[in-house]
């Protein structure tokens, strides 16, 4: 990438904070757009679990598309304005991309929007060629997911550069916004793991291995990069809050399946299960980071984070999963009866028992050792990502 000659840093030292607050509107818009997209995805999943039939024009789809467009178009506007009408100070807080100038997060939002737009005709053709969403995870959906993920990453980077440039007065505001985006990151992972994290699987080593590969990366990077004392806890709290709010609110709306075969008598929107208790290991990760970050090298810190995550997560999720199997959880609050309309009675019966270990699989302790190793690797990567995130200025 070619980089144009830029005014020196010295010239702009005084105006940096002013530029930060002036461009903050874009970070707010991008975070709002990412929220639209994530809420839209949750709503869409719920729609498919309850109603089934959809078109491009369902409210959930429109929310996702609107989120993508708002993020992409606002970023495009920022790029054009900064390139052609930006002050020197504004231009200085950007990166150059094919001759245009905008913050890094804006380019990622534009990329995400373009990926989402690309997936639309591809997905349409895919439906005509291979059937309507025969599988949720398909190549066009993967491009859409990449686009959506990029919108969240873009929002995160826009907020991150604001936080990293902001003065003491403005920094907490951006840090809390970052915690919100961090919560959406955790939500992203959790949504992706939905099919592999049914409650009947929560007493298996496989489930804990999967969660150790998914969550420590985000929690460690946030704990290091977000300038809050309880950064990972705050992000996990946002994840839990958003998931609970959506679960309780959407679940109140009436719905009947419009596709068949129907095996469950659905009368209201079916929502995703009670969120994972990520908040407990997140508190533990914050405590470890407060005491040891900077005092130990990352390769020593990573196994401690991994053990903290796994130990606390198993300690709370295991008994909570047992509770979810009881009649006491079969209510709107704990949402243990969220059976999709196509669930056959045989499959429903399976939901109230933990899966027995398949013949020939490794014993549970071996899975936990693997989970610890995975958690260590991803904690280390998360810490590295956190270090990079602390440096992002544009």
């Amino acid at each position: 990438m070619s980089v144009a000659v830029q005014p020196s840093a010295k010239v702009y030292a005084g105006s940096e904070a002013r530029v930060a607050t002036r461009s903050a509107w874009h970070a707010y818009v991008a975070v709002a757009a990412a929220t639209f997209v994530l809420v839209g995805i949750y709503w869409d999943i719920s729609w498919h679990m309850s109603i089934g039939r959809d078109t491009f024009w369902t409210p959930a789809h429109l929310l996702i598309q609107a989120g993508g467009l708002v993020a992409g178009l606002s970023s495009g506007f920022v790029a054009l304005k900064t390139t052609f009408a930006g002050t020197d100070a504004e231009k200085a807080a950007t990166v150059r991309f094919w001759g245009f100038r905008a913050p890094l997060g804006a380019w990622i939002c534009i990329w995400g929007c373009l990926a989402m737009l690309t997936s639309a005709p591809f997905d349409n053709w895919w439906h005509d060629a291979y059937g309507l969403d025969v599988k949720i995870i398909s190549p066009p959906h993967a491009i859409l997911a990449l686009g959506i993920f990029s919108i969240v990453v873009g929002a995160l980077l826009l907020t991150l550069s604001e936080q990293n440039r902001a003065d003491e007065e403005h920094r907490p505001r951006f840090a809390w916004m970052l915690a919100l985006v961090g919560g959406m990151f955790i939500m992203n992972y959790a949504l992706f793991l939905t099919e592999y994290g049914e409650r009947r699987m929560m007493h298996s080593g496989w489930f804990y291995g999967l969660t150790a590969a998914a969550f420590p990366f985000g929690l460690a990077s946030m704990a290091r990069a977000i300038k809050l004392k309880w950064a990972a806890t705050a992000a996990a709290a946002f994840y839990t809050g958003i998931m609970l709010a959506l679960m309780w609110i959407i679940g109140f709306f009436p719905a009947t399946p419009k596709l068949g075969p129907i095996f469950q008598h659905v009368t209201h929107m079916i929502t995703l299960p009670f969120p994972l208790l990520i908040i407990v290991p997140a508190i533990g990760i914050d405590v470890v980071m407060q005491r040891l970050d900077g005092k130990l090298p990352d390769w020593k810190l990573a196994p401690i984070l991994s053990a903290t995550f796994l130990g606390l997560f198993i300690a709370v999720q295991w008994p909570f999963a047992s509770f979810l199997m009881t009649p006491a959880a079969r209510n709107r609050f704990f949402n243990a009866e969220n059976y999709v309309y196509w669930m056959t009675p045989t499959y429903e019966a399976l939901q109230n028992h933990f899966d027995l270990p398949a013949h020939g699989v490794w014993p549970f302790p071996v899975h936990i050792v693997i989970a610890l190793l995975l958690g260590t690797v991803f904690s280390f990567l998360g810490l590295s990502r956190g270090t990079w995130m602390r440096k992002v200025r544009r």
């Binding site: 990438m1 010295k10 039939r53 291979y130 309507l132 068949g260 075969p261």
Partner: protein, 490 residues
């Protein structure tokens, strides 16, 4: 018909379903007190959206509702139906779309409501993946351009993230930051290329899986022993779930059509005995020597109709005349040439059959194949049912790619309708099998019924070309008379 006035453009595909190369379903019948015509155009992929066109002529029709019922789930597991929308400017024409989510036997329940109450017609439809869509060049071009922009854009973003983004605002890029960006770009490019290749491999694997599981009609192995022809039907792919025991259709386990390959100069309609579950046998004593295309229609207990096809070299004598059994029939019995719509066909015994429908027929538009049968006195003939139907027609394209067995009720099988009705009543044995003995072995029409010599077959030709149509009726003297017509479809 007014149905002609709406042309629903969909991609042309030649699918294989209950018939051969003719996937659209046309039904003429009654929904309670209301006469209806239903056309169902199933999608070529599953899950997919079927197009439904309903014509309900009665003046008191207030509402037409269509509902997809999957065999395994029955009416209890079917979603609520959708009201079909009246076509603008038409009094009796309605359209709707139905989502067929699973592979196998479906039935579209057409419920018509009006001043005389409500009535439902059951229209069996096969929901099968029959086609494979190619990526058009313009779309491929768009995707390649967008993909290239995304790829290069992502490499640029990775470089910026490792270089400029980490500099203080206004700071000049250093040699170190430039180097870092360059290395990041160099590492990212092959990794992303690998990702794209992995995506392409994924796509290719999905495509391969799809092609492997596409519907293929069951294969049939013929064997000839003297005057006996044995047919053994077997599965061709992983579609065991589709199969169920064969049930009688018009009282016959199989309707077998032998047609002279290439010239279509000979036509036989036989009814083999079922020796074992999928083993059929018929005698063809005296059947002339030659190469024949075989089309065997069977109906399964789950409401699916299937046509099995094969080719045989029959070793008989060229000059002999076949000796027929029971309801078997053949053509030509008297006159070798097929008629054109402009002149009557001679049926023998003094009977004639004249094409009275519109001879300008267009593909993918509903057509009424209308005929008039006159007796030796030139009067409209009084006919008897042939295998429980007023008449049978077989349509075959010149290239053998389209074959369909029609009745005045259209392309659907009466036995399949009855199977669905029995399924809905829960009329099953302890083992879950349908109790069909009382229904599907019986004929839709009593044998002694007198039928007016005006015949009409609703149909929709799937593609342009030349077709031969054999029409079969039973005269009062009990002999089966067959006429053949050639028609060019635009």
């Amino acid at each position: 018909m007014k149905v002609r006035s709406i042309l629903l453009p969909i991609a042309l595909f030649v699918g294989l379903s209950a018939h051969v190369g003719s996937p659209d379903v046309v039904f003429d019948g009654n929904a309670g007190p209301y006469p209806v015509r239903a056309i169902v155009r199933p999608p070529m992929v599953v899950p997919g959206v079927a197009e439904v066109i309903i014509q309900a002529e009665a003046s008191d029709v207030a509402r037409v509702n269509v509902r997809p019922v999957f065999w395994r789930a029955g009416v209890k597991g079917a979603p609520a139906g959708d009201d079909a929308v009246r076509v603008a400017g038409e009094k009796s024409l309605y359209t709707g779309k139905l989502w067929l989510m699973s592979r196998g036997a479906y039935s579209v329940y057409v419920t018509v409501s009006g001043a005389r109450g409500a009535g439902t017609a059951i229209v069996p439809v096969a929901s099968l993946a029959t086609g494979r869509l190619a990526l058009s060049k313009p779309l491929a071009g768009i995707l390649v351009v967008l993909g290239a922009v995304l790829f290069v854009g992502l490499v640029t973003i990775v470089r910026a993230a490792s270089g400029d983004a980490l500099l203080e605002p206004g700071a000049q890029p250093t040699r170190q930051s430039k180097r870092r960006a360059r290395i990041a770009g160099l590492v990212a490019t092959p990794l992303l290329a690998l990702l794209v290749l992995g995506g392409a491999q994924w796509w290719s694997s999905v495509d391969g899986d799809y092609e492997r599981t596409m519907y293929r009609p069951p294969a049939v192995d013929p064997s000839i022993h003297g005057d006996t022809l044995d047919l053994r039907v077997h599965d061709t792919a992983a579609f065991h779930a589709l199969f169920a025991p064969v049930i009688p259709d018009h009282g016959k386990m199989m309707h077998l059509f032998l047609i002279d390959a290439g010239s279509h100069a000979r036509f036989g309609h036989f009814h083999p005995d079922e020796i074992d579950s999928l083993h059929f046998r018929t005698a063809l004593a005296g059947w002339p020597k030659g190469k024949y295309k075989l089309f065997g229609d069977i109906v399964l207990a789950n409401g699916l109709s299937q046509t099995v096809t094969t080719t045989i070299d029959w070793p008989g004598d060229t000059s002999t005349a076949p000796s027929l059994l029971g309801d078997d029939s053949w053509w030509p019995t008297c006159c070798k040439d097929a008629a054109r719509p402009s002149r009557p066909a001679l049926l023998g015994a003094g009977y004639t059959m004249t094409w009275t429908g519109d001879s300008n027929v267009t593909a993918r538009q509903p057509a009424d194949l209308r005929f008039e049968v006159k007796d030796e006195k030139g009067q409209i003939a009084h006919l008897l049912p042939y295998l429980g139907m007023a008449a049978h027609a077989v349509v075959l394209s010149a290239d053998d790619s389209v074959f369909v067995h029609l009745h005045p009720m259209g392309t659907v099988s009466a036995s399949a309708q009855q199977a669905f009705a029995a399924r809905d009543r829960g009329d099953t044995t302890d083992s879950g099998r349908l109790r069909l003995s009382a229904e599907s072995t019986s004929m839709p029409m009593p044998m002694q019924a007198s039928i007016d010599g005006h015949l009409s077959f609703p149909y929709e030709f799937p593609k342009p070309g030349r077709y031969r149509i054999w029409v079969q009726v039973r005269a009062p003297a009990s002999q089966v008379l067959t006429a053949a017509f050639d028609i060019d479809v635009r």
